[in-house]
């Protein structure tokens, strides 16, 4: 029998024996937590892979949708939160719609994304994670989101501009912005919603601030 002592959660190399290792020492704590928080019956999955077959971008994923569900059953929290899948999933709901057992796969992935966002684990797809964060910040600032201001704020985030220049997408995006501006589709400003104060208050309350 295989007797490795390494933690299966943190194992990075894909040693098949390592992967076969069973649930971590917290038992099915993680599975129960996810099922309790989402109301999704993860245990109902019988690995038919229909979700993965329905998914339009499974070839871009490091952990496929049906594997996500399996890993939740096994309690492999860190491996899940470190994955790129939880950030690139489009929430297109194909998986959920076609699962024969009504496992809400998209909701599980979205929930893992929220968990990752509030964990200490660095997101694998940083540019996407930062984008969501910037969007929310812009929303809280003015009640509505203007594309131009959003992109400006996004590019001023640490490392984003640098990374975009490095991988060559910056030039493309700048050209695109110019085209859209010429076509009258890029508005440089938008009216604020008068509700900003209310929204800011609600937002800080959700984060546990009293006033």
């Amino acid at each position: 029998m295989h007797t490795s002592t390494s933690d299966p959660e943190t194992a990075t190399e894909h040693d098949p024996c390592e992967q076969r290792e069973l649930i971590g020492d917290r038992g099915d704590y993680f599975l129960n937590r996810i099922q309790g928080e989402t109301g999704v019956n993860v245990s109902a999955c019988y690995q038919c892979e229909r979700c993965t077959n329905a998914c339009p971008i499974s070839q871009f994923m490091d952990i496929k949708p049906h594997q996500i569900i399996r890993y939740v059953q096994l309690g492999w929290r860190i491996r899940l939160l470190k994955s790129s899948t939880i950030w690139i999933c489009l929430s297109c709901e194909m998986c959920t719609t076609y699962c024969p057992n009504e496992v809400d796969v998209a909701e599980i992935i979205n929930h893992l994304r929220m968990m990752a966002a509030s964990s200490s684990i660095a997101p694998k797809e940083k540019s996407l994670a930062v984008f969501h964060q910037t969007f929310l910040e812009e929303l809280i600032k003015s009640g509505r989101v203007n594309e131009f201001r959003l992109m400006r704020a996004y590019y001023s985030k640490p490392d984003i501009l640098h990374e975009k220049i490095k991988n060559g997408t910056f030039k493309q995006e700048l050209q695109l912005a110019m085209t859209l501006f010429r076509k009258g589709r890029l508005k440089l400003s938008a009216p604020k919603s008068k509700a900003v104060k209310e929204i800011q208050k609600a937002y800080s309350q959700t984060r546990g601030e009293i006033i």
Partner: protein
């Protein structure tokens, strides 16, 4: 008839041409749209991805405002529609504290479903001056308008029909195809451009294989993805029309012809060739 209107942030920015065409079409149909006073963003993918409670209370604020007006909501953006419906469902479960007074009883309609009602189709037919019968189109619905059916209420989520019916009423030849509700990539292009290009190019290619000369959409994000991906093409572009733009063409109220110029995939060559301009 009077309805409250939730435009959403896109229709104030990138899709301002869409907004203009909606007002024009509803005016022709004689239906009053009252913009929800002081509406705010629905939270879109960001709130959905990062904070469950925000994804419920942000749309709830707009539901509350519409309830005060006592008018059903018409929502042209698929994502906003999905988020409003989701929030409504969560409000009814009464597990979150919502800082606004809201019951969730008001009806939230996606615009296409409203326009596809038999009575409205009749109304549309009466307004047609120049049927588009030489134009072959396919209708593209995307994800958020139809899925998940438990939220959107679409029973025919595999083969939705609302856009098909409206386009047919405008006299276009609506073709069948299998990519009606395959994802276009949404906002993933921000971090992973190759994914959005892979998905959008495939949809375009399939529409051409079906024989379509144009694609009809109702979601601002789908429109911009399918439109922008044609940026560097040299052959005849496939224009991506908002459904209300298509109606407008057949209503003969083309409005300010400036809206043609706002498309990246220029609709003029196709429309000229078809004698529709």
């Amino acid at each position: 008839m009077k309805l409250s209107f939730y435009p959403g942030c896109s229709l104030e920015g990138m899709a301002n041409d869409y907004c203009e065409s909606i007002y024009a079409v509803f005016k022709t149909l004689g239906i009053d749209l009252v913009e929800i006073e002081d509406w705010s963003c629905c939270g879109a993918t960001a709130a959905h991805s990062l904070s469950e409670i925000m994804s419920v209370i942000l749309p709830a604020r707009n539901l509350a405002a519409a309830e005060k007006m006592g008018l059903d909501i018409i929502c042209p953006c698929s994502l906003c529609f999905n988020r409003l419906r989701f929030s409504q469902k969560m409000i009814k479960k009464k597990i979150f504290h919502i800082p606004w007074q809201v019951t969730g009883d008001i009806r939230v309609l996606d615009m296409t479903r409203f326009l596809a009602k038999p009575s409205i189709i009749q109304l549309i037919k009466q307004c047609i001056l120049k049927p588009l019968d030489s134009l072959k189109v396919v209708c593209y619905y995307g994800c958020q308008m139809v899925r998940p059916p438990k939220i959107t209420g679409y029973a025919d989520y595999e083969n939705p029909q609302t856009l098909d019916r409206i386009s047919a009423a405008a006299g276009a030849r609506v073709l069948d195809w299998s990519y009606k509700s395959t994802c276009c990539g949404a906002s993933i292009g921000i971090g992973r451009r190759e994914i959005v290009e892979f998905l959008s190019k495939r949809i375009l290619q399939k529409s051409r294989q079906a024989g379509a000369e144009a694609i009809v959409v109702s979601c601002p994000l789908c429109q911009s993805n399918l439109d922008i991906v044609q940026k560097d093409r040299s052959d005849t572009p496939t224009p991506i029309f908002y459904v209300t733009e298509l109606l407008r063409l057949s209503f003969k109220d083309k409005g300010n012809p400036k809206w043609f110029k706002m498309h990246v995939a220029d609709p003029v060559p196709v429309l000229k060739a078809k004698g529709l301009l």
